[in-house]
Symmetry: C2
Subunit: 394 residues, 2 copies
DNA sequence: CGGATAAAGTTAAGGAGCCTTACTAGAGGC
DNA sequence: GCCTCTAGTAAGGCTCCTTAACTTTATCCG
């Protein structure tokens, strides 16, 4: 649910101005994909003529979006002048508001992190949380040395779903006070940066798709298992959000517990691991991590608890597989650290449950998935914005 | 899985020729949406100038894609000449291969059915089935009075999934012999019409989206319950197929039956209704329809069987809702006739299962959903093809 | 070392397609 | 009959792309 929705206008007339703009965009995208290229090379790759490439590139350079970055001698012939996108033409902000940690990063248009901070989130009220977010973000921007006005877009990841009309985050059970209306608007005005808010699992999926193990997947599901249970789906490179942004809320999948129907979230999340470990005879102050560690040592109760967790995850994967047909399912979140233990039971159980067995892999980005997803999303919009203002600015 | 995949080339240079083509396309699409319009009106709506509209429309008319259809006098001022797309510029073929029925229709570019046939499918072998399809399709084309060469595209709906590489339909358990390789190729060459093959539930979803109750939905799921169990998903107007075309194969959803884990398909489809009716005390030669009829008469065993079926459908809907977040779920297929009985138990059960409760509605198209979906899909491609060959033809 | 070759990039000419402006055509109101 | 208003056409100009020829600069090779 983007807070600043870019209205899609699918049917616009193609006047000459639009044509030029489209070709400049084509060249810029190509340059980003290649890193750096000469004008002759761009002409070959895009199918545009050499004069057109020269002139379009000149106007991109005048707008500050590209610049010369050196030369390259071909096998023989005149040395080529290489052009590359200017990473400093704009910056993007990524924020991950998690239950335990707040993470903020500023990236340039190349996607390179120029500043970052990870803070413990001890806020127990909405005011404290927004203050923490605003001050941390300001700090990070200051540390980056970037003019705040050059931070053209930001994306915030959080549990729950941002409701555009009510201007508040819904279903964010694990963040006290975070459901109040107007909080995001407050942060936005305090920072002076356009902000979107997205679900954390969705962003983690995008992060893992862009920078991690999901690259190139046609349909990719990221299952986030931690304090809660969520799933993000990336279809053909784009986030799949459903009708109201609630797609992937697999915590609500039907699940028949021991006594009564309950929510799958309560059966799969970290607490459930601890609970079943207790049931299998473990004692003391337990955390999910402790149970997994004990299982690694061979503690029989812990091993059984992990086994059970694996079966339940398999159930989750099977449901997602039957509905979505992903070619890759990535397990991340708190259990991400323990995927080595879970992979075998998950796969075994899956074999019994369904003939649809997508590839299953552990997260590569771990704790950074949400932040990197936020950054990737913000970057996308930031690139658009910087390109759009190109004409206005000159 | 389209058999003739239109390769997407997202990054093409926008030369002037492409620009003209895009504007002609824009005008044609607008005309289809409006039905008929004058050049001045088109200029106002598209933002193109009047001379441009005149010239583009003239070249569309020369290609036979549009023609004058009359005049309309405005409040005051000169009478306007109205243009409209020529429906006879091409035709599309839709085929629904079902277990009990084979349905074939030919439509013009307006989407009007110009000929149709519904035949009992008694084929028990692949040769008989392909023969039936080919002869029926030929017959329908002949009846339509259309030159077979003008049937530019066709879409076939069938249970299962067409595997492009193996050139055969997979997972089509209920059609004997239909899984053999090369059958579709045979039909294609016999008919001389380019054919795509799609899953029947997917097409039914598209049909219901295009002509039925799903119109305008952002994310729409069609659940087909009959001999088998399937689901089609339409997201933002486009079919959601998953990585390998298996999205919506909810027959494979995990389900814990009375003794052992089984496939949800066996618990929800028509046979399951009969089976539970038997368990609740009904006797004799039963069909799903008979059970529903008995329930309408108040037969207690039948009522309980229907109740149970409703609960299982609710389970299915809940799973789809948690993963996809649809704003509308349509129930169709064999049980479509009996949705009146099922809607209440489904909704009640759903309330207990999950807070995500999409709107649930019965199919409006009934038995025609698959055929109309095939027709709609074929029409889409046919319009593209006719537009593309516009230049080549002249 | 000088010419052949090859690639990068520029210049010049030409053309396609759109827009603006100015016009004609036709229909009603006063 | 004249004014006004809308539909549509004609002419000219502008933008931007392409082709083709040319310049520049590098390597290769005798």
């Amino acid at each position: 649910m983007p807070a600043s929705d870019v209205a899609e206008q699918p049917e616009q007339p193609w006047s000459r101005r639009r044509l030029r703009s489209t070709n400049e965009r084509l060249l810029l995208d190509r340059l980003r994909a290649l890193g750096a290229a000469s004008r002759a090379q761009l002409a070959r790759e895009t199918g545009l003529s050499k004069p057109t490439v020269s002139s379009a590139l000149a106007s991109l350079a005048a707008a500050g979006l590209v610049h010369e970055v050196g030369t390259q001698a071909p096998e023989r012939g005149r040395t080529a002048v290489l052009y590359a996108p200017d990473p400093a033409a704009g910056y993007a902000l990524g924020v991950d508001i998690g239950r335990g940690w707040l993470r903020v990063a500023v990236v340039d248009l190349d996607g390179t992190v120029v500043a970052r901070a990870d803070m413990r989130n001890r806020a127990r009220a909405s005011a404290a949380l927004t203050d923490l977010v605003v001050s941390t973000a300001r700090q990070v921007i200051a540390n980056s040395g970037v003019d705040p006005a050059e931070v053209v877009h930001g994306v915030v990841g959080t549990p729950g779903v941002y409701d555009e009309r009510q201007r508040r985050v819904r279903y964010a059970m694990h963040l006290p006070g975070w459901g109040r209306a107007g909080l995001v608007d407050g942060i936005r005005t305090e920072l002076g940066v356009p902000l979107e808010v997205h679900n954390d699992a969705n962003l983690a999926a995008l992060g893992e798709y862009t920078y991690g193990v999901g690259a190139g997947s046609r349909l990719f599901a990221y299952i986030l298992i931690g304090t809660g249970l969520g799933m993000g789906v990336v279809s053909e490179g784009r986030l799949f959000t459903g009708a109201r942004g609630l797609a992937g809320e697999i915590g609500f999948l039907p699940w028949h517990g021991r006594q009564k129907p309950e929510r799958l979230e309560d059966a799969v999340s970290g607490v459930a691991v601890v609970e079943s470990a207790r049931r299998f005879g473990m004692h003391g102050q337990l955390t999910a991590k402790a149970v997994f560690d004990a299982a690694r040592q061979g503690h029989p109760g812990a091993v059984r608890a992990v086994e059970l967790e694996g079966e339940r995850i398999a159930h989750t994967v099977a449901a997602a597989a039957a509905v979505l047909d992903p070619d890759l399912v990535v397990l991340g979140g708190g259990v991400g650290h323990s995927v080595d233990l879970l992979l075998r039971p998950v796969r075994e159980r899956l074999r019994a449950l369904t003939p649809l067995r997508p590839r299953i892999a552990p997260s590569r980005l771990g704790e950074d998935a949400v932040l990197l997803g936020a950054v990737a999303t913000a970057l996308d919009t930031a690139r658009d914005l910087v390109f759009e203002r190109r004409t206005a600015g000159t």
